[in-house]
Each structure stands twice: as structure tokens, then as C-alpha cells.
């Protein structure tokens, strides 16, 4: 209910002869928005004065000293770019051409038939969020099927408001099995088999956020088959290519398999995590089409969607990503560094489980090791999460998700201690 707020008439006299008189505000009915569930965790963390505090909220990689990590390949790329003294002219609406090309090749594999026949279009976007939003807007405007987007249960918190704001509706299919802290394959297949034809189904390509639970290749095959039978439009969200297993091709396997099986997918990519380019906002949105002609038409419509939001995307991050992908030594260095980040996460998972065993926990923590990527769905209940935050200053999202990237050899024991304390 909008309420009009009438503030006290305020008269200010100052050196200029204009008085400031207000008896009404336009914004009396504006409600205070709740803090963002994920980014709000960092806000709360910052305010905490406990020296042992841990931020396991937002998925940003940290090195073993708990510091942000700027990849060497990024620094090297930046130096190369600086030396070129490029101008700052507007990029095209669809972004840096070389970037879009390299981005698509990374996801699909450079020998992919889709790329050879030119039957896809990739536009540069404002990282993963921007890509999802453009994609959602595109579906909202052009998808002739039902307006329902099926998300895995659970999914990244921001998926729902993005699709909603684009005018789509949200439904869910079973995904995470709390009893095993693993994949509810049977439940997923059952639910997917009931999705009305031509609906949109969103799949996390690898390193599912928030659970870290990914289908195995054999399971992906069955899902692909079922989705084909149901004639669903597949929307892949790939924010962690390279970051999950350490191998970029392995992490893109599901995406490539679906395309091979004849799905004309749409795909969102982010370079925030795998290149550590978070704040530079580097991403891509790809539509795999029937043929090159359709791709051209789709491209023209994507540009029309982009223009009234931000006109054209930022250069800096796209330049860095392109330089890395297209310069052999830098690409090789990048692959090493991504592998290194993935390995450190895997090691922390192992150390956390060891630590919990040492603390004397009798729970089964195998899922911590089985899950993949940046996040771990601990299985902690909201009350336990709250205690972990209040008593130990360990910050995480309410759903029990922790960012393993925030765990280091220096604090893993403390974390194990805290988790054991709230779960014993």
C-alpha cells in the first residue's frame, strides 16, 4: 500500500535567494529493499571485528593466504594491451568481435560444426548476469513456447529475479537430494519428463551453484535424451568452465554433448571466476541456431535488446580475455593457473573432511569431497548456519552453501571446529 509521507515543511535560507520548500516527496511509497542474500553476506562480514572471521559467502576465489588472486596471465595480458596504446572508441553493440569468437570457441571447441557452419551467434555481455538477462529478455520476446523457465532445485539465487524481471515465470525440477547431499537423478528425470513441451529448462553446465553436485556423463546422456523427447529449449549457464575439474574441455563436455545430440541451445558464459576478472564484467551469450541466416536474424534482435540497456559493453575485460585466449603462451599459462585454482579447492575439501574427522564428527562428510567447483552444500540447516555465523563469525548463505575458495590451510581447522560444534 503506497503511503504518502508528508514531511515537515522545511525552509532553508542561504546565500542564494532560492528557498527550499517541500511538503511532499515522490518516494514515500518506496519500500526499503532487503539486503541481497549473497552479496549481503559480505556486507555483514565486513562489519564483524572478530579476527578469526571467515567470508565463505560470495564465490570469489582466494589464494591460500585468503587474498584475492590476480592471475599472472591477466597481468601479462594487461601489459601487452597497455603497450598497444589503443583508442577508446565505442565497441559494437554485440561487443568485441574477437572476444565473441574466442568465447564461443572456448565453450564449443574450435572444431565444432556449429562454428564451422556459422550457425551460432555470440555476443559479449556484462559477465554472467548480463548474459542471463539478455538471454531471458530474448526468450521473453521471441520464444513461442510457454513462459516457464525450469530451474534446478536449488539454483543460484539470482536466477529467479533475473528471469522474473525479464517477464518469464519460474518453475523447478528436483535436483539436489538432501538425504545424500548428492544428485537426485531419479527425481530430476521424473520431473523433467513432466515438463510441458517447448518450455525452457536451465542447466548448470558444471560446478552447480550452490550445491557443487554435477551429473555424471552417463547421467547427462540420459538427461539430454529425455530433454530431446520433451522438446525443451535448453539454457545452459556455464560460469565455471575450467574451475570445476581444472580442465576446460572436461567442464564443457555437457554443453558440447547436448549440441552434438541436436539441441540448439542458448548459453551464458562468465569469465569472472575462471580468469579472475570479476569486476571487469566479462561474459558471453550464445544462441545456437538452425542455420547461418537464422543466426544473423537473431544477432540483429540481440542488438536491439542490448541497446536500450547499456548501448555497448565495456572493453577492458574483453580485451584481457581475448589476449589470453588468443596468445598461445598466455593461454597455456591460463590453463595452468585455472588448474591450480581448481586443485587448491579440491585440497581444501579434503582438508576440511580430515579436520571434521579429527574433531570427532560422526557425520558422513563424503559429499564435501564429491561435490565440485567453488561451492560446497554443507547440508547445514538455517539454525546451524546462524550459529556458525553468530558464534564463530563464519559467514555463508542461509542455504548452507560455503565458498571453498574462502577456505585456506590457515583457517580450515577453525572451520572444521565450528562446523562440528554446530552439528554434533
Amino acid at each position: 500500500v503506497a503511503c504518502h509521507k508528508f514531511s515537515v515543511v522545511l525552509i532553508q535560507v542561504h546565500s542564494v535567494t532560492h528557498n527550499y520548500v517541500h511538503d511532499f516527496s515522490w518516494w514515500g511509497g518506496v519500500q526499503m529493499g532487503p539486503p541481497d542474500p549473497i552479496l549481503g553476506v559480505t556486507e555483514a562480514f565486513k562489519k564483524d571485528t572478530n579476527p578469526k572471521k571467515m567470508n565463505l559467502g560470495v564465490g570469489a576465489y582466494r589464494d591460500d593466504q585468503g587474498k584475492p588472486f590476480v592471475l599472472s596471465c591477466v597481468r601479462k595480458a594487461e601489459a601487452l594491451i597497455a603497450a598497444k596504446q589503443l583508442d577508446k572508441e565505442y565497441l559494437p553493440i554485440g561487443g568485441l568481435g574477437e572476444f565473441s569468437k574466442a568465447c564461443a570457441q572456448l565453450a564449443l571447441g574450435s572444431d565444432n560444426e556449429v562454428l564451422k557452419t556459422g550457425r551460432s551467434i555470440t555476443v559479449q555481455t556484462i559477465s554472467g548476469t548480463g548474459s542471463l538477462r539478455i538471454g531471458a529478455n530474448f526468450l521473453s520476446r521471441f520464444h513461442g513456447g510457454p513462459r516457464d523457465v525450469y530451474l534446478p532445485k536449488p539454483s543460484w539465487g539470482n536466477h529467479t529475479p533475473i528471469f522474473r524481471d525479464a517477464g518469464m515465470q519460474l518453475k523447478a525440477y528436483r535436483y539436489y537430494d538432501p538425504s545424500t547431499c548428492g544428485f537426485d537423478f531419479k527425481g530430476a528425470l521424473e520431473d523433467i519428463s513432466k515438463i510441458p513441451e517447448q518450455s525452457v529448462i536451465l542447466l548448470h553446465a558444471c560446478a552447480h551453484n550452490p550445491t557443487g553436485v554435477d551429473p555424471k556423463p552417463e547421467q547427462w546422456k540420459e538427461i539430454a535424451e529425455l530433454v530431446k523427447n520433451r522438446n525443451l529449449l535448453v539454457f545452459f549457464d556455464m560460469a565455471y568452465q575450467g574451475f570445476a575439474s581444472g580442465d576446460i574441455d572436461r567442464d564443457a563436455w555437457a554443453v558440447r554433448h547436448f549440441i552434438e545430440q541436436g539441441h540448439n541451445i542458448v548459453l551464458s558464459q562468465s569469465f569472472a571466476k575462471n580468469m579472475g576478472l570479476y569486476g571487469e564484467r566479462v561474459g558471453g551469450f550464445t544462441v545456437v541456431c538452425k542455420d547461418a541466416d537464422e543466426a544473423k536474424r537473431v544477432e540483429s534482435q540481440l542488438k536491439i535488446l542490448i541497446r536500450p540497456i547499456y548501448s555497448n559493453p565495456p572493453m577492458n575485460g574483453a580485451r584481457i580475455a581475448t589476449t589470453i585466449l588468443n596468445t598461445p603462451e598466455l593461454r597455456a599459462l591460463w590453463l595452468e593457473e585455472v588448474h591450480g585454482m581448481a586443485n587448491r579447492i579440491i585440497k581444501m575439501r579434503e582438508q576440511l573432511v580430515d579436520g571434521l574427522k579429527k574433531e570427532g564428527s560422526t557425520h558422513n562428510w563424503q559429499h564435501v569431497i564429491d561435490q565440485i567447483g567453488m561451492f560446497c552444500f554443507t547440508g547445514l540447516k538455517p539454525e546451524q548456519v546462524e550459529r556458525l555465523t553468530k558464534e564463530f563469525s563464519v559467514y555463508m548463505t542461509k542455504d548452507g552453501r560455503i565458498s571453498m575458495a574462502g577456505v585456506s590451510s590457515g583457517n580450515v581447522a577453525y572451520l572444521a571446529h565450528g562446523i562440528h560444534a554446530v552439528t554434533k
Binding site: H18, G28, G33, F69, A82, L91, K228, N231, R281
Partner: protein
């Protein structure tokens, strides 16, 4: 054919954005004397893009600063950037800032700032989720104004009288009449200075009349400020209208772009300045702005904001920047002066005073579509169908050819 194939067969080919097509056509043209007076970006007298010296300096500092990383900015952007940007618009001595009722939302260029503001208005202005409030944009205006507000959901976007083609100036009576007749609470998009595409700005006295009616009739003020400093060469002079409206007590939005005055076109540096009634209102507004940003781009790009922030917050760099801005503004003023003089010397029919009376990057020449077509096809001088030229495309080397071409177009084509 697999699932999902043919899903988009119904997507028609969309028409290209006019200004970018013009540049594309220009690029393909091989005529030795071709001139591009299309897209709005600054050019040096050698017709080259210009990375501001202060920007080069600051970029070097950033690259060499190993303490900087690429972490996410907050949703609303880099705090030092937001406050410095709002200060540039409102002035160092701004009472509104001192009263803590001014906030900024870092956005992707001026477009992004307009869009976040438009999305907010649609959700929270004049009721909630209100798509029916009329949005008035000048006739003519930057073509993307329509796109931004329409895409944000507004169903009723109307023109207000602005350009008087007969007198080649501001149609003040028409404008004031539209303000009097607009439904109360209508939203008006005002160009803070260097009106795009006409280059015609209200005088201070005219702004006062506009403000009086807007206040009396409860109309919403949404400034688009894409050329601060670029228009006259003075930041303060170019922000006069904004500051006047703020001093008159309006709760308003200002979409700021740093694309032109910093030459940072492709880094997408913008700021939506919100002037609220008090800090409590501001807090609620910004919390809802966060919700909008979160589903659009999550958080803004850091590079451009860092450059602008470092520059605005350091006195020496700030001074150097003002000098760079004046360099650009002065070159434009010189080209205006020379073009008018040459047309007068050629005896080109009509009056050409509007060329020096208009301000900023653009000039509405008054050429009609047929004359424009002549310019493009016969003379290889590219300009918008509206007759808009980018003064920055003029140089001491091509100005004679352009003047001659205009002369021919006006005398040969009716």
C-alpha cells in the same frame, strides 16, 4: 532438426541502428575526400580518436599499481567514483550533498544510468509498477531515449516541442505550452546542456521559466547530462541548469555520462545521480536501485570508474582533466566559427548563425533529407538524415570541402 531448433525462425531481421550503419557505410566508401560527420565521438584535427593525456597517465598508474585487483565492485559501484561524479554535477559547494540527500548509482555509460533510472521510475514512481505515466522527450531527441523508456515498460512516450525548424532555434512557446498541458506527474527528460541532436540549449532565463511550470505542475525532472564540460569548456557553466533545479528543491535524477568528457566511450562510465528530499528517502531509493542493478548487470565494470575516480579526486589530475576538456571544447568552437564564416563567404543561401549559436558536439544544420542524401551520395560527406552533423568530424583539412558540399546541397537540391 533437434529440439529448440526453429524456435527462433520467427525472429525477423531487425533494422540496424542508424548511427552505426552510417559509420559502417562510411568505412566501406573508398572516396578520397570522404568525411564522417555521423557518430558522436571526439576527433582531433587529424581526424583521429583522442585518448586524453590525463587518462593515459592514470591508466599507467593503475596498471603499475600491484595492490589493485579485479574484485567485484559493490552493486552500486565504486564509492569514490559515485560521490566524485555527483559532486562534479552538483558542485563542490552543493547544499544537497552536504545535507546527505544525494546518492549515485554507477552505471554502464549514460545509457545505463538512464535505464536504471527509467526502471526505477516504472517500479516506484506515481504508484507502483506504473507504466502509464507519460514520459516526455524533446522533439527531436537522442533516438535511444525512446528505446530506453519503452524497454523499461513505459507505454506512453510523447514528444515535447523543442526544435523550431523555421527559426532554427528553441521553440520556447511550444515547450512551455507542453509543460502546462502535460498531465501532472508526467516525466520530462531534459538535456542538461549541448542538446543532442540540435545543439540548442535554453538560456538561463528560459530554464527558469521551465522550472517554474514544472514545479507548479508536479512534473518529474530527469536530466540527461552527457556533455558536461564539453559544451562550453566550463564544468560549472554546463551544469548550471542542473544546479538551478536542485536549488529550487526538486527531487530529481541526473543520468551522467563520462564517455565524451573523459573520452572513455568503450569503458562505459556513467552515474545516475539521485537528489532526494532527505537521507531517509535516499536510503530507500538506493536499496531499490540495488535490486534493479542486481538483475541487469549485478555490479558495474571497474576500469573506467577507477580512471574517473582517481582523476576527479586528485587536485592536479582534476586540473589536468579540465584542461583536456577545454582543448576538446575549444576545437569544436573553432570549427563552428570557421564553418559559419566559410558558408557566409560562399554566399550560401539562408542564415548560418545557428552554427555558432548552437553548442556542443552536434549541429542541426537544417539540411533536409534530400539534401542530406545529396551530401552522402554525391559528396561522400556522411551525416544523419535529420541534418545533424558532428562538429568533431570537421578539421582544418576538410572544412573547405564540407562547406562547399553544403553550399552545393543547398543550392542544387530543394
Amino acid at each position: 532438426a533437434g529440439p529448440g531448433s526453429g524456435a527462433f525462425t520467427m525472429s525477423p531481421q531487425a533494422p540496424p541502428v542508424a548511427v552505426f550503419k552510417l559509420t559502417a557505410d562510411f568505412r566501406e566508401d573508398s572516396h578520397p575526400q570522404k568525411v564522417n560527420l555521423g557518430v558522436g565521438a571526439y576527433r582531433t584535427d587529424d581526424c583521429q580518436p583522442w585518448v586524453l593525456p590525463v587518462v593515459k597517465k592514470v591508466e599507467k598508474l593503475i596498471v603499475e599499481d600491484s595492490s589493485l585487483n579485479h574484485e567485484y565492485l559493490p552493486i552500486l559501484g565504486l564509492p569514490e567514483f559515485r560521490s566524485a561524479a555527483s559532486k562534479v554535477a552538483l558542485g563542490d559547494d552543493s547544499t544537497a550533498i552536504k545535507e546527505n540527500r544525494v546518492g549515485g548509482v554507477q552505471a554502464l555509460g549514460g545509457t545505463g544510468a538512464l535505464r536504471v533510472g527509467a526502471d526505477f521510475l516504472r517500479r516506484w514512481y506515481n504508484g507502483t509498477n506504473n507504466t502509464a505515466t507519460p514520459v516526455y522527450v524533446s522533439a527531436p531527441t537522442w533516438e535511444n531515449h525512446n528505446g530506453v523508456f519503452a524497454d523499461a515498460g513505459f507505454k506512453d512516450i510523447r514528444p515535447y516541442h523543442y526544435w523550431d525548424a523555421a527559426k532554427r532555434g528553441l521553440d520556447l512557446d511550444g515547450l512551455l505550452d507542453d509543460l502546462e498541458k502535460a498531465p501532472e506527474r508526467s516525466i520530462f527528460v531534459l538535456h542538461a546542456c549541448a542538446h543532442n541532436p540540435t545543439g540548442t540549449d535554453p538560456t538561463q532565463e528560459e530554464w527558469k521559466k521551465i522550472a517554474e511550470i514544472m514545479k507548479r505542475r508536479n512534473l518529474f525532472v530527469f536530466f540527461d547530462s552527457a556533455y558536461q564540460g564539453f559544451a562550453s569548456g566550463s564544468l560549472d557553466k554546463d551544469a548550471w541548469a542542473i544546479r538551478f533545479f536542485v536549488s529550487e528543491g526538486f527531487e530529481l535524477f541526473v543520468a551522467q555520462s563520462f564517455s565524451k568528457n573523459f573520452g572513455l566511450y568503450n569503458e562505459r562510465v556513467g552515474n545516475l545521480t539521485v537528489v532526494a528530499q532527505d537521507n531517509e528517502n535516499l536510503t530507500r531509493i538506493l536499496s531499490q536501485m540495488e535490486k534493479i542493478v542486481r538483475t541487469t548487470w549485478s555490479n558495474p565494470p571497474s576500469q573506467g570508474a577507477r580512471i574517473v575516480s582517481k582523476t576527479l579526486n586528485c587536485p592536479e589530475l582534476f586540473s589536468e582533466w579540465k584542461g583536456n576538456v577545454k582543448t576538446m571544447a575549444d576545437r569544436v568552437l573553432l570549427m563552428r566559427d570557421q564553418l559559419k564564416t566559410k558558408l557566409q563567404d560562399l554566399g550560401t543561401p539562408g542564415t548560418w548563425d545557428h552554427i555558432t549559436q548552437q553548442i556542443g558536439m552536434f549541429s542541426f544544420t537544417g539540411l533536409n533529407p534530400k539534401q542530406v542524401e545529396y551530401m552522402i551520395k554525391e559528396k561522400h560527406v556522411y551525416l544523419m538524415a535529420s541534418g545533424r552533423i558532428n562538429m568533431c568530424g570537421l578539421t582544418t583539412k576538410n572544412i573547405d570541402y564540407v562547406a562547399q558540399s553544403i553550399h552545393e546541397a543547398v543550392t542544387k537540391v530543394q
